[in-house]
């Protein structure tokens, strides 16, 4: 028993628990902020005011939304499969939270000398982090598919089926562009990939993976970003919930907090996708001016920019047609990513990276 107590009071353990708690809370808060940002950005792009009644500039709108959702009546279709209907949103949310665990968001720090040895700003430092994120993200699709099936509604089922087809199609291009970067960096650990991006080419251009082996790094970035938008089911790839055709897709029959869990998962998935993109392609916490110990500031700045791009895309681009989406994934993105992988493999061999 004393062993457990010793372990619990070790500074490393406390730091680990603190980081885990902070990440857990930050992800939830980020979803709330994201909802507000989405409505404000949408309003700005459509020359409206957006939410402005609750709190100054409508800042308390997310809280009002949450209160409303909590007090909504929980409905369940009579013919629904009770167990899976309840499990589906939970699976989505768990997968969304867990996917952030291997994502590093700052350099190793002793936290102002409080810790005996530097600890990484990360929940779990896994040497195959890239693959773990990929695996957990691919678990998220089960929440959507099962929600579609368990609701026993034709719109939900169609939404669920579309989602599984879409995610499988885009995972290939996603994986190919991931492989490109892992090959160039020579590692599957996100921390090592980020650390390889420190420094500058010719003293000006940062050594980020977007610029590596130009243009292969940049193409991988574009493919990864596009597939990432499709993986998170965001416009212009939001087929699982295409309102005009499927009412609301897989969550047609959901209400109250179960519905909220789906949205929580969707926004957290976006944050995770942006964080992974930052680490893989945009140099993670490396950047000019800010010292390395405060690198997480750079990380957050890059994260915010990418999240804004997500919103920007949604409110600018119209939705694809379903067959266009499939053709785009299989006939354009996948061959492009594969050729890019081969070219960069040749580049790695030739330049001996």
């Amino acid at each position: 028993m004393s062993g457990v107590l010793d372990w619990l009071t070790m500074p490393q353990t406390i730091f680990f628990l603190a980081v885990t708690g902070v990440v857990f809370l930050a992800l939830q808060v980020s979803a709330a902020v994201f909802v507000y940002a989405e409505r404000k950005v949408a309003a700005f792009m459509q020359q409206r005011y957006g939410p402005y009644l609750v709190g100054p500039k409508g800042l308390l709108q997310p809280i009002a939304d949450i209160v409303k959702l909590v007090f909504k009546e929980e409905l369940r279709p009579k013919a629904a499969d009770g167990l899976l209907f309840a499990a589906a949103p939970v699976i989505s949310a768990i997968a969304a939270f867990a996917a952030f665990a291997p994502v590093p968001f700052g350099a190793s720090t002793t936290f102002f000398g409080l810790l005996p040895e530097p600890m990484p700003l990360q929940v779990a430092d896994i040497n195959v982090a890239v693959l773990v994120i990929f695996a957990i993200t691919s678990m998220g699709v089960y929440g959507i598919v099962l929600a579609g099936w368990a609701s026993n509604s034709k719109y939900s089922l169609l939404g669920g089926l579309r989602s599984s087809a879409q995610m499988i199609s885009y995972e290939l291009a996603y994986g190919m562009s991931l492989a490109t970067i892992c090959m160039i960096a020579g590692s599957l650990s996100l921390r090592e990939i980020v650390d390889a991006q420190a420094g500058y080419y010719f003293g000006v251009i940062p050594k980020w993976n977007v610029f590596v082996l130009f243009p292969t790094g940049f193409i991988a970035f574009l493919v990864f970003g596009t597939a990432g938008v499709a993986e998170t089911n965001r416009a212009p790839f939001d087929f699982p919930e295409a309102e005009q055709e499927l009412v609301a897709g897989y969550h047609t029959e959901y209400s109250s907090m179960k519905f909220a869990l789906f949205f929580l998962a969707e926004y957290i998935n976006m944050v995770t996708a942006a964080a992974v993109t930052t680490n893989l392609f945009l140099g993670g916490w490396h950047g000019p001016l800010i010292p390395e110990a405060y690198g997480w500031i750079w990380f957050l700045i890059k994260l915010f920019v990418l999240c804004f791009v997500y919103l920007w895309l949604r409110w600018t681009l119209p939705r694809f047609r379903y067959d266009q989406l499939m053709a785009f994934g299989w006939k354009l993105l996948l061959p492009l990513a594969t050729i890019n992988l081969l070219v960069s493999a040749a580049g790695v061999l030739y330049f001996g990276l």
């Binding site: 062993g3 499969d81 040497n127 693959l131 695996a135 691919s138 089960y142 598919v145 089926l161 599957l188």
Partner: protein, 182 residues
């Protein structure tokens, strides 16, 4: 990754946990009447297996197990089950027609099961070093780089033949699914 194990005192508890998940999951696959639940139980079983791989210090194999089997193949299974709308098994029909209730297949099945168990027991009795800990029986290829090197040198032929086999299966599937020209 090993820190968590040391608190519990041994890997044995974790092994028992993951093994139980894997075995119970596989049992649930054949015990379910609803095909969707069978698919989900199989996924659970894969997670148990993946946990066992982590205990064997093969994180890459563990993750690949999840990505390929739980993440890709089972999504397709689920997709097909949902698309065909496979009905629940009818319990009364099952009782009447299932081979379990006929004598000849039951005897044959029991004999096969006994033979398999006997073969397993014989194999275990002849395998040296089963009593050694996990850490002693460290697998030869634990990192991705080592694994790739082994695959593309020692097992080159088997690897390439497997890939051609998969390619043939893919081409065959496309040929079968193609619309017939009138």
């Amino acid at each position: 990754m090993r820190r968590g194990c040391s608190i519990l005192g041994s890997d044995l508890i974790l092994f028992g946990l993951f093994a139980a998940v894997a075995v119970m999951g596989s049992l649930a696959v054949i015990g379910q009447k609803n095909p969707i639940y069978s698919v989900l139980a199989l996924i659970l079983s894969f997670f148990g297996l993946s946990g066992l791989y982590v205990l064997l210090e093969a994180p890459f194999v563990a993750v690949v197990q999840i990505i390929i089997y739980a993440g890709a193949i089972m999504v397709l299974f689920l997709f097909v089950v949902m698309l065909l709308n496979v009905p629940r098994e009818d319990a009364a029909e099952w009782d009447r027609t299932h081979p379990y209730y006929r004598p000849a297949p039951a005897v044959l099945g029991s004999a096969l099961a006994a033979a398999t168990l006997g073969l397993l027991a014989w194999a275990f009795s002849r395998t040296p070093g089963l009593g050694a800990g996990v850490a002693d029986a460290r697998p030869a290829a634990s990192s991705v780089g080592q694994l790739g090197r082994v695959l593309f040198t020692d097992y080159m032929f088997a690897f390439e033949v497997t890939s051609i086999l998969i390619l043939i299966a893919m081409v065959g599937a496309v040929a079968l699914a193609r619309k017939r020209e009138q």
